[in-house]
Amino acid sequence: MNRAELFAPFINAVKDPDEPVKQWKKEHAGGVIGFLLPDVPEELIHAAGFFPYAITGGNIGPDQVDTHLQTWACSYARSCLANALGGRLDFLDGLIVPQACDTMRMLPGIWEHARHLPYMDNYRLPRQVDRSSAKKYLIAELARLKNGLEQFGGHKINSESLRHSIALYNHNRALFRDIFQIHAQNSSLISSRDLYMVIKGAMVMPRERVNELLKEIAGELKDRLKIESAAKSLRLVLSGTMLEPLEILDFIEEQGGTVVGDDFQNGYRYIEADVPEKSDYLEALADQQLNRIPSAAFDTQKNPRRSFLADLAREKRADGVIFLHMKYCEPENFDYYDNLLAIENIGIPAMRIETQFGASLEQLRTRIHAFMEMIGGKSDD
């Protein structure tokens, strides 16, 4: 199979993110619960019999979002709201917003008045994760979320269906980690662009189907791994809340680079932490949340993000680190300087790029090419 064949369903899902869900709705006559990133427990939504649909944002377009949300709100929040206002999320029956930052705390009220949905809830994540109170609270919060889904769905989520959904998602994450591994060994088999594109596509596709496809991809790539040798590339670690736009990966690859590690909500952070096997499923979901890799949204004193990033860059033998920041993302910006120092201290060159949904690609290309050239990549001349 060539690239287009292998990745076609994911390429299509990124292009038309509402196609798979509309198809599913036709076949299953079921409800769709949308959610924003990060960290919403899709397993609960799935176990309740709904389609968990990640709202991954998009270009903002001419919708009336400016009359609801300031231009200096992050473009992820703005573009999600713009999609709702523009009627492009009309297939949603419900919405869960994770309260991971101030913008995500304020968005649901605006959304509710502008485009009311029959089910709307917030996932009130604990922001400290190290003390025992966090876990106890989180289990109760998950129970509250579960209860709301049950009420909306009209039936209880039994432990068998929750066990099944957790196993499905754990399997999904394991498959993704396999593919990450293959990419790390030989990025000519699956490029950085394709890797992250597959994740982005998977977020809006039925997970059962995703797993079938990933199994095929992993099988095919593993066969090739045996015969095709890896070309030498410049190894990059990327850090930020969201990897957006994906074209950035093309710009890196054009200059002979490959991404060997990241901490994005729509990247490795999305598939890194499994839900442990435990008889108390809510406790297991809480454990997963509290053990995710660090992000700016949470105070993780036992696993500080700057040390995590420095370790990651070292472990992955990175030639450079790119901080890819969503403009107006406060938590990310507060972390940046100390993260930068941690990377500089281990002698790895780093740069920051601010992006937005709908950012100018040419400017991004120029900046990335310049950085790649500095760390020893191809030259534009």
Partner: protein, 399 residues
């Protein structure tokens, strides 16, 4: 706030605040641990534990009022901190790195306590400061509360208060004194009661006291809440306000309208705004901001009561609850129109205002307007743009 209109008590406040900063330095000299805290934080526990609470937000407000926020911010910006971050945080981080300290040096913490009821910017700033000063940091986490009393959030917070007390005991080596806490809570209650009685006089028509006066006199309720000094201060202020009512000295000459204002003032332009409103006979009577410190703790259940008060504060409530609270203030104070400040420094208070303006007008029939600026930083302030919003609003009040 014309010259002759300045409160006598203002002199007492200057003295108190000088004293407060002096006490901070003294604490450092005597080895009393300096604990950074946030404005909406159960400081009563810090006082009861014998630590010195320091309010970096107050530092931010002072830097803003003295119009140096841009200078301090610039120092932070050279390190990659964005000018779009909270202005108080930019001032605090900037001052930490700065060689020059135009409003005195921010007091370095021995340990840091933060509650995220107000926003997510404070914990991030405190994390940065904890790393910079190499001091331990403790977050009291307050999940957002909806319309009703939220038992889950309360229980979580109570458990964290226990964790915090154990954390302080470990740090100081001294068992926590609940009797002392009770005494501190009683002092907080008294100061809050007096403060809110003073604020309420803004409902009189004409009123002796308004929002801009409250901005001037609020520092003690934030920084001295839980002490005798705060009680004495507000007792003196209340007496003076009562005298003024008798003597018919009013907050502005010819009060014709009462205005609701949301939320923090634009500190470097405080006088400009107060004169602008006064020139139109409009008394800015009330803001949810200055009403934040309205606690009434139950001494029988101190931790539960602290938990409910500090998590159920308006800034931590859902969208519709916040609309209802604003409308209740408008009714209570007989408001004729409302002004909402889309504060570039404060996302949790600014985001949602566009819809709130429309919804409040629909529900109350009152005219309302939004202007864009920054509470600290004049780089985000344009007099012409603010006037372009406010002048038509004043015209609307006349019709």
């Amino acid at each position: 706030m014309t010259e002759k209109n300045v409160f006598k008590t203002a002199g007492l406040m200057k003295e108190m605040m000088t004293n407060y900063y002096e006490k901070g330095k003294e604490a450092k000299r005597q080895g009393i641990p300096v604990a950074w805290v946030t404005a909406v934080f159960p400081v009563e526990i810090i006082y009861a534990a014998g630590l010195f609470p320091y309010y970096p937000e107050n530092f931010g407000a002072v830097a803003a009022a003295r119009k140096v926020a841009d200078k301090l911010s610039a120092v932070a910006e050279t390190r990659g901190y964005s000018p779009d971050l909270c202005g108080y945080a930019r001032c605090g981080i900037g001052d930490a790195y700065a060689d020059e300290h135009p409003v005195g040096e921010i007091l370095p913490p021995d340990l840091l306590f933060c509650c995220n009821t107000q926003c997510g910017s404070l914990p991030k700033w405190f994390e940065v400061a904890g790393r910079f000063y190499n001091a331990p940091y403790f977050l009291l986490d307050a999940p957002q509360v909806g319309f009703e009393t939220d038992e889950l959030c309360k229980e979580y917070y109570v458990e964290q208060l226990h964790e915090m007390i154990a954390y302080i005991e470990k740090y100081t080596g001294v068992p926590f004194d609940f009797e002392k806490l009770s005494a501190v809570l009683a002092l907080s209650n008294e100061a809050c009661r007096l403060w809110n009685e003073i604020l309420d006089t803004a409902a009189l028509k004409p009123a002796p006291f308004g929002f801009f006066d409250a901005c001037f006199h609020m520092a003690p309720i934030v920084t001295w809440r839980g002490t005798e000094e705060a009680v004495n201060y507000y007792r003196a202020l209340k007496e003076e306000v009562e005298e003024r009512i008798e003597q018919r000295i009013y907050a502005i000459p010819n009060e014709r309208y009462k205005i609701y204002f949301d939320h923090i003032p634009c500190w470097p332009k405080l006088r400009w705004f107060s004169e602008l409103f006064a020139s139109h006979g409009a008394l800015v009577a009330v803001s949810q901001y200055t009403h934040s410190w309205a606690y009434s703790f139950d001494l029988e259940h101190p931790l539960e009561s602290l938990a409910e008060s500090y998590t159920h504060e308006f800034v931590n409530r859902c969208f519709d609850h916040r609309i209802e609270r604003k409308i209740n203030f408008m009714k209570k104070y007989g408001i004729d129109g409302f002004v909402l400040f889309s504060n570039h420094s404060c996302k949790p208070n600014a985001f949602g205002l566009y819809d709130k303006r429309r919804l409040i007008s629909e529900k109350t029939g009152l005219p309302g307007v939004i202007f864009e600026a920054d509470m600290s930083d004049l780089r985000f302030f344009s007099e012409a743009q603010v006037l372009a919003k406010l002048e038509p609003f004043f015209e609307q009040l006349e019709t």
